[in-house]
Amino acid sequence: MYVAVKGGEAAIDNAHAWLASERRGDTDVAELSIAQIREQLSLAVNRVMAEGSLYDPDLAALAIKQARGDLIEAIFLIRAYRTTLPRFGLSNAIETADMACDRRISATFKDLPGGQVLGPTFDYTHRLLDFALAAEGGERPEVATRPADPAPMPHVTGFLNRDDLIEQEPVGDDTPSDLTREPLEFPATRALRLQSLSRGDEGFVLSMAYSTQRGYGRNHPFVGELRVGTVAVEMDIPELGFAVEIGEVQVTECETVNQFAGSKTEKPKFTRGYGLCFGHTERKAISMALVDRALRWKELGEDNVGAPAQDEEFVLSHSDNIQASGFLEHIKLPHYVDFQSELELVRKLRAEVERSQTAPTQEAAE
């Protein structure tokens, strides 16, 4: 019998009030400000912007504060907020070749125009806990400077292109389809795959990329180039009739150079994978490039070896941590009626088994 029930209003209110108090923690400890989170937990802010798919450092910091540091919850808050914003338009594609690079490295060429610029990196640190940071009132360390070289930093794939050693990217200005406007359908275009990977869960995309390195759809990647820096965002303003820069975003870009494609008639060439994410998010951008490359097997005429990272339906349907956690976590919400029917069913099945077990013994007794 189905009995409609309601209740829990007071319990929910009290639970939320307690949540707010737990969020604040011990009031003898100073409260975190949004600016502190933005400035001092900037890589968390970057992850929330990349996967929340909305570039706004202050909003991401607010979301992290509200979510008590639960980054997926923070990403959820950002995704929910972005649905309330009217869409003013589409930017022109950003020019990563013009990036003001904080960091730019290549694992394929030692001496390249513009050089190897390490930037503020965790690489080559010893990963030993620094107890000096536990002491408060530390001074901001001096940062070394050197006159900047105004020479451009061309993309590594650009000079491989010159020698025709790497596949060329088709050029054009087609308007790409947009995940946030139309439901994802398969087969997906590369544009949709890249949009989906760029906002996908870092852990998931990392694991998929790692699986290709371990042999599940191996694609022999080299990091041709990894760059982190700021680029201007330009948009055509209809009421003005020309384009203006409407802002500046920090992005991480990774271009991989992968093993060859060729045929009897075509000379072998390197192939490419591409990663581009908001913020300084290099683990994610490298992972994205590897998975992008794995998903390109069909257009490159490779075999489908049945690896998970080659299966776009598998990858794209499971890369979104908001969809995933929404579906996963809904099972903790009341399912009293569903469960009641399961309970009745299992009781009925047990009764049937019991009957069939007792019946033959009765027969034997008779």
């Binding site: 909003l59 594609a93 904080d102 900047a148 790409p176 820069e245 908001f278």
Partner: protein, 148 residues
């Protein structure tokens, strides 16, 4: 740094990217405060930022950014100013639109002198400082010479 400021795109692009507080300070300093009426009140929305496959290829949607825009008309002379600025600060969009409108009037010189030039200088300094820090992390390779 001398700049011509002939191109509307140049000043609008600068005003879109400057820190909110920096523009507010410079605006107060300039003390221009013209009368105006709204053509479009400030509203915050999103712009879809696009990237290119492989950095140079076909475009794809990277993610959105917040943008605030407005349009206004000066009471004196009727110059129309547009503000399209990064982020969610309505005051920022309003001041950007006022600067844009005033750049089309006789107040242009004051806007250039007290707002645009100092803000452009600041922006160039910030950018220059980051570039200098990056340059200091550029690797100098040394060739190892094997023993004699």
């Amino acid at each position: 740094m001398t700049q011509e400021w002939n191109d509307r795109k140049t000043w609008m692009s600068l005003l879109a990217k400057v820190p909110v507080e920096a523009l507010a300070l410079a605006w107060d300093e300039a003390d221009l405060g013209p009368d105006y009426r709204w053509l479009r009140r400030p509203e915050t929305g999103a712009v879809m930022v696009r990237g290119r496959m492989g950095g140079t290829g076909l475009p794809f949607n990277l993610g959105e950014m917040t943008v605030t825009r407005c349009a206004l008309e000066l009471a004196d002379g009727g110059a129309v100013g547009h503000g399209y600025v990064q982020g969610r600060d309505k005051g920022h969009a309003e001041r950007a639109a006022l600067c844009d409108a005033l750049m089309q009037t006789e107040a242009r010189g004051a806007v250039v002198e007290t707002i645009l030039t100092p803000l452009a200088t600041q922006a160039a300094q910030v950018k220059g400082q980051r570039a200098e820090r990056a340059a200091a992390t550029k690797v100098d390779f040394f060739t190892m010479v094997r023993g004699e």
